[in-house]
Amino acid sequence: MRRVWLLAAAAAAYLLAAWMVAPGFYDGFAPAQPYNWLCPPFHVAANQPPKSGSLQIKIIGGVSDANSAFTDDVQVVIGFLPGAFDATGKTVIAVDIKPVSPCPKPPGLTFVTNTYLITAGAPLVKKSSLLMRYSDIVPAPSTVYYSSSADGPWTSIGALSEAQPFTIDTTTDKLGYFAAGYPTNSVSHSSSTTWLLPLAIALLIIAVLVAGIPLAIMRRRRAGVEGEPDESEP
C-alpha cells in the first residue's frame, strides 16, 4: 500500500509541476511556434521584439483596391476587400500596424498576444478579415478583443473557425486596438484541435477503468484463492 501512496504522491507532484509550465511536460519534438513578444511570459527565455507593418492601398477608379496588410513577422494580417475604405478624395490609403507599448492588461481579460494598433488614412466601410497568430506556449485565445483606446473598454468581436494552428481569425468593421485573449475566469478556448487531446485522454481514462476494474477483481479473487498477499510481485 505504501507503494501506491508513493506513486500517487509522485503523480500529484508531477501534475503540479507540469501545470506550472504550459503545455506541461513534453519531449519537445513538436516544432515550436515562435512568437515575438512585447511583454513575454515569465517562462520565455529568448525573445525578439514584435515587428510593425504598413501598406499603401491604391485607389482605382475611386475604389480602394483589395490588399492585405501584415506585420513583418506575420503575427497580424488584415485583409481588405475592394472598396473596403471610404476613398473619397484619396489617391492612396496608408495602413499601419504597430504593437502597443505598454501592454494593456485590462481587468477580467487575459491577452495571449501582443496588442496591436491598426490605423488607416480613411474609415472602413466594409468588414475586413483579421488574423492574429499566437504562441504555442500559452493557452489558445477564445476571441479577439477590440478597443478604440489602449485604455479600453475592450469589446469581444468574436472568432471564426481556425484556419491554421495557432491562429485566430475574425472580421472587423472598424480599426483600432486589437488583441486576442480570453476572459480570465474562463478555461474554455476555441480551437478546431482543442478537443483532440482531451478526447484521447478521456478515452484512455475509460480504457483504464473498463479494463482495470475486471483486472483488479480477477487479481483479488486469485489472491484470495491462492492465499497470496494483495500486493504480490509482478
Partner: protein, 186 residues
C-alpha cells in the same frame, strides 16, 4: 574493459551515465539542425537502446508476465503525463506526422536507458533509493539542453513518477507505453 565493468558496479554506472548523457545532449543539439531533426532523433533513440544491451530482460523491468496490468499501467501513466496539456488542450503543440516514428524510437530508447539500464546499474551500487534518485537526476540533466530551465521541474517530476513505477511494479513496460503515448501526443 567489459570485465572491469562487470566486476565494478560503480564504473558501470559511470560509463552508462556518461554515455546516456552524451547521447541525449548530442541528440538535443543535432535536432536543432534544419532538416536533420528526424534523423537525429532516430539515431539518438537507437543509441539509447544500446545502453540496454547485455542486461537480462528482467533486470531491465521487461517481461510478459501480467502483461495486461503492464499495458493498463502504461495507459494510466499516459493519462497522468498528458493531463496538464489536455486540460489546456490547444496550448499544446501537435506532433507532426513525420516525427511520429522518431518520437517512438526516442521514447523507448530513453526508457530502456534511464529506467532500464541506468536504474539497474544504480540499484547494484546503492539499492532502490539510489536507483530512483540517480536515474531521475540524470534524466533531468539529460533534458537540460532540449528544454527551457522552467520545464525541468516537470521533467524531473515525470522522471520520478516513472522511476517510482519501475520500482513499485518492477516494470518498465508501462513507462515505455506511457512515454510513447505522451510523446506521440505532444
Amino acid at each position: 574493459m567489459l570485465s572491469v565493468l562487470k566486476s565494478r558496479p560503480a564504473a558501470r554506472v559511470a560509463v552508462i551515465g556518461t554515455y546516456i548523457l552524451l547521447v541525449e545532449w548530442t541528440r538535443a543539439l543535432s535536432s536543432n539542425v534544419s532538416h536533420a531533426a528526424a534523423a537525429a532523433l532516430i539515431l539518438g533513440g537507437f543509441a539509447l537502446l544500446l545502453a540496454g544491451l547485455g542486461w537480462p530482460a528482467d533486470r531491465l523491468g521487461l517481461g510478459k508476465s501480467r502483461l495486461g496490468f503492464r499495458i493498463l499501467g502504461g495507459f494510466a501513466l499516459a493519462v497522468v503525463l498528458l493531463l496538464p496539456a489536455a486540460a489546456r488542450a490547444s496550448a499544446a503543440p501537435i506532433l507532426p506526422a513525420f516525427l511520429a516514428v522518431p518520437a517512438i524510437v526516442v521514447s523507448v530508447g530513453e526508457e530502456i536507458a534511464f529506467r532500464g539500464a541506468l536504474y539497474a546499474a544504480l540499484d547494484d551500487i546503492g539499492g532502490v533509493p539510489v536507483a530512483i534518485i540517480g536515474s531521475t537526476a540524470l534524466w533531468t540533466a539529460a533534458h537540460a539542453l532540449s528544454h527551457p530551465p522552467e520545464f525541468l521541474f516537470a521533467v524531473a517530476a515525470a522522471g520520478l513518477l516513472l522511476a517510482l513505477w519501475r520500482w513499485a511494479c518492477k516494470d518498465l513496460v508501462a513507462p515505455i507505453i506511457g512515454h510513447v503515448i505522451a510523446d506521440l501526443a505532444l
